[in-house]
């Protein structure tokens, strides 16, 4: 357990030292938000109604970008081989790495949510619900993306492959997240949808690290 927390601290420090990558991702997220009003027109009513969906779309595209090189650097410089030699079980190491990555991005997104919502004229009462869907939904995106990123790690660069693999898997999470915000706008109960998102997350938390570890181990041998 001590080793796991040590690894977690290590990962967090790595993310902070190489902050430019994560900062670039958040900038990408904000740039999409800035571009969208130009694409669909600046009418405040239209933007207000579409805001939760647009913010989620921006986050989803950003996560596709983030996942593209999740394990590739580790595979290339031999970190992956060292991780397998560690006394810590590989799924736990993967879980630690994913946890650090998800926590950093989630934190940054939560900080950026109010300005994004402000720019699109979203109602402030929806903001906590939107933040809640991100807390449950963003880890779902990253865990699914981690599995697919591990599958494609040994492949020659194939630009749209990860996007193609992840799109069908992302759609349910996107539907639930946005329908929670819609329910909040209509003053309906948001709990059924939150429970569904939570169920997806609860299913992925134990399975994804084990799957990723199995794929990476087979890939290295």
């Amino acid at each position: 357990m001590k080793a796991f927390f040590h690894l977690l601290g290590c990962e967090f420090r790595l993310h902070l030292r190489h902050a430019s990558r994560n900062a670039g991702l958040i900038l990408f997220f904000l740039l999409i938000i800035v571009l969208l009003p130009f694409a669909i027109g600046p009418e405040p009513d239209l933007l207000r109604r579409l805001a939760p969906g647009l913010i989620w779309l921006a986050a989803l595209l950003m996560s596709l970008l983030a996942l593209d090189d999740l394990f590739i650097a580790d595979a290339r410089d031999g970190t992956l081989d060292l991780m397998q030699l560690s006394t810590l079980p590989l799924p736990l190491i993967i879980a630690g790495k994913m946890l650090a990555q998800i926590a950093i991005i989630l934190l940054a997104i939560l900080v950026m949510l109010p300005p994004a919502a402000f720019m699109l004229g979203m109602e402030w009462t929806i903001l906590p619900v939107l933040a809640g869907t991100f807390i449950l939904g963003l880890p779902v995106l990253f865990l699914l993306g981690g599995v697919m990123g591990a599958i494609t790690v040994g492949l020659r660069r194939h630009p749209a492959l990860l996007t193609l693999l992840l799109t069908p898997l992302y759609i349910p999470a996107l539907i639930f997240a946005v329908s929670a915000c819609d329910a909040a706008v209509l003053r309906q109960s948001i709990w059924p949808v939150f429970c569904l998102l939570g169920a997806m997350l609860a299913l992925l938390i134990p399975t994804a690290p084990i799957l990723i570890a199995a794929i990476l181990r087979q890939d290295q041998s």
Partner: protein, 240 residues
């Protein structure tokens, strides 16, 4: 189980496929001839939809067989992962384009039917969306499988993707019951028996049989091709 391991020998499988393919092809042709006659000529027009109801006889069996092929592929993927069956991956590789085309046929005919009936080529209804996701999963699998040079690794990665994608199958099946959106609920396989009259059910079932035989024939043919391709790859590598 012994039957499954019996056909793990590609030679035995090829001989059986050789035997089955012509019979399947003839049976599929006969079933298509009878089914199309029953569907397009002999069956009555619908009292609400008129003649457009005939699109159903092409649309529904394509969806059935496209869905069944995915289920078969997911089962084969599981067998391939657990038992390392030699033909499991070859089946998946061979069946994926067939299933994808059938789902595409289902979506296109559905769209052609939707325009006169619903007044729109496409609506974001639960059933339509989940079938579109199924098509995307098929396409994702095909591209993923082609990205690997190493069949050993490719089969494992593809199998994992197929098994994750299998979550979508119950959603496709029950989407019309869980979300009451535009697409009509199940009318053939449902509790309390089919709601279709026999004059429409018979052509539909014959067409289903025709599509099924056609798919079996095509998949066997493609499996033989993939087997030959693999053999060729091994021989070229040995020659170099």
């Amino acid at each position: 189980m012994s039957l499954i391991s019996y056909f793990a020998n590609p030679g035995r499988f090829t001989r059986l496929a050789q035997l089955l393919i012509p019979w399947c092809a003839i049976a599929a042709l006969c079933a298509f001839a009878i089914g199309l006659y029953l569907a397009l000529v002999a069956s009555p027009p619908d009292y609400q939809q008129g003649e457009t109801v005939r699109i159903m006889y092409v649309h529904v069996p394509a969806a059935w067989i496209g869905l069944m092929l995915y289920i078969a592929m997911a089962i084969a993927a599981a067998i391939g992962l657990v038992a390392r069956h030699a033909l499991a991956d070859i089946f998946c590789v061979a069946a994926a384009p067939v299933g994808a085309s059938l789902i595409a046929v289902c979506l296109i005919t559905g769209s052609l039917w939707g325009k006169p009936t619903w007044g729109a080529w496409w609506v974001w209804d639960a059933r339509l969306t989940s079938v579109l996701i199924l098509l995307l999963i098929y396409l994702g699998y095909i591209v993923l499988r082609h990205a690997f040079d190493d069949h050993e690794k490719g089969s494992k990665a593809g199998a994992i993707f197929l098994l994750i994608g299998a979550v979508n199958i119950p959603i496709v099946r029950f989407s019309v019951d869980w979300w009451h959106t535009l697409h009509q609920p199940a009318s053939v396989l449902r509790p309390g028996g089919s709601s279709l009259p026999p004059s429409m059910l018979t052509p539909l079932l014959v067409m289903g049989l025709a599509y099924g035989l056609y798919a079996v024939c095509l998949v066997l043919l493609r499996m033989r091709t993939v087997l030959t391709q693999r053999k060729l790859e091994i021989l070229t590598r040995a020659a170099q």
